[in-house]
């Protein structure tokens, strides 16, 4: 894995730490990650920041055995599409959950974890993962 720059990590902090996405004030649709334009309303859309709910359900998942560079030591791990309680879907890692509990429809809650390290001396990126509750 090529380590992202510290400015990129910094720009993503509101999304990664607090799951702050967007809401279109014209049509009411929520988006995560944040958007600059509402794909439904186009020029009529008016986007504002909106905090996403921190709970939801597993929509789909996969167990990663051959992890990308930088995550090799963490495999096997579960990667899931989470449908948040407002209907927005996010891709996230599943942590601290027994294998048999990781299934479609399982209720999950957000956890704050380390996402990756930019080498031994670089910056640390933190953010959301989910746990089956």
């Amino acid at each position: 894995m090529v380590s992202p720059s510290s400015s990129l990590i910094w720009r993503e902090i509101p999304e990664r730490y607090g799951m702050v996405g967007s809401v279109c004030q014209t049509c009411g649709a929520s988006y995560f990650p944040q958007r600059k334009v509402c794909p439904k309303c186009r020029r009529k859309g008016k986007l504002a920041l909106q905090k996403m709910p921190e709970n939801g359900r597993i929509y789909a998942f996969t167990e990663v055995h051959s992890a990308p560079r930088g995550f090799e030591n963490e495999s096997p791990y579960f990667l899931a599409i989470i449908e948040l309680s407002n209907g927005v879907r996010v891709l996230a890692q599943i942590v601290d959950s027994e294998k048999e509990k990781v299934k479609a429809g399982a209720t999950v809650e957000m956890r704050f974890r380390k996402i990756f390290e930019a080498g031994k001396e670089g910056i640390l990126a933190y953010g959301y993962k989910f746990k089956v509750v």
Partner: protein, 355 residues
Amino acid sequence: MRKAFGDFVKGIGIVGYGAYIPKRRIKVEEIARVWGKDVKRITEGLGIKEKAVAAFDEDSATMAVESARRAVQNSGVDAKRIGAVFVGSESKPYAVKPTAAAVADAIGASPELTAADFEFACKSGTTAMQCCLGMVASGMIEYGLAIGTDTAQGSPNDPLEFSTGGGGASVIVGNQGVIADFEEFYSYTTDTPDFWRRPSAEFPQAAGRFTGEPAYFRHVINAAKGLFAKTGLEPKDFDHVVFHQPNAKFPLKAAKILGFEEEKLKQGLVTPFIGNTYSACSFIGLASILDVAREGERILVVSYGSGAGADALSFKATKEAERKRPKETIFNMIKEKEYVDYATYVKHRRKLKDV
């Protein structure tokens, strides 16, 4: 001029708390097996059965954030009204870069606040709490967040490896919706080299037998006695007591020396189940007491930090403590666990070279 006991702090105290204990546990027995040690002698000597192990993607910052998020939720405080975030830890993920700033951002606090990381071995959390109490008492801030968090370090086969666990706990201080009134504090500090870590060293060193009498006991006993002298309170006036707990033996002995019944220690004694969580130790113990404290019950907290110092603080639970119980208690968190073997523990704690 300092006002009389209980006067300058009227109405100020803990308004909420939260804790985080990592799910993985390793049994002391398993560590002893690997190093060919006498299991019975070690477990009996320490009074510790197992310890909590932070996962590969957990560190003192993630545990600080998790505990702080829960404290905000349990207290009902609007994070934007928190004026100070102080994090006490001796296992910071960065040597230079504040964990406190990450915590503030992660809980959705306003940038309009002051923040810093504190270090005083295992007592930096209570010292952070003292600062928050002072700032709230003076009217400088409305709410303050104090945290004790550590992924306790111990080098392989060192006596410390058998006892050091990981965890974090947060306390929000304020003057509205107080669950435990702050009554008084007394601190005792001297330069005592019982335990240290130089900047380039990966693991701390302890000065063996020296850690007991001149270090832990001298400071803890003096801090507690100082608080008694300052307030006129006695052990019989307290319903619960929590001491720093590097093992399960030291706090029991401290209680005996001071004249506390063992029963008063029980609710806050968590080390036998999660190990010595360093800065989080007395915080998690206090949180466990607050889980059950009833209106009017008095709580004594005495932290200890090597190097060395102790902070003694007295609290009295209010009716709000019974109303604002968190949905998950410390003993519930202790029960939720997954055992790992030594090899898995070594992988998660990155004790392998190049991991």
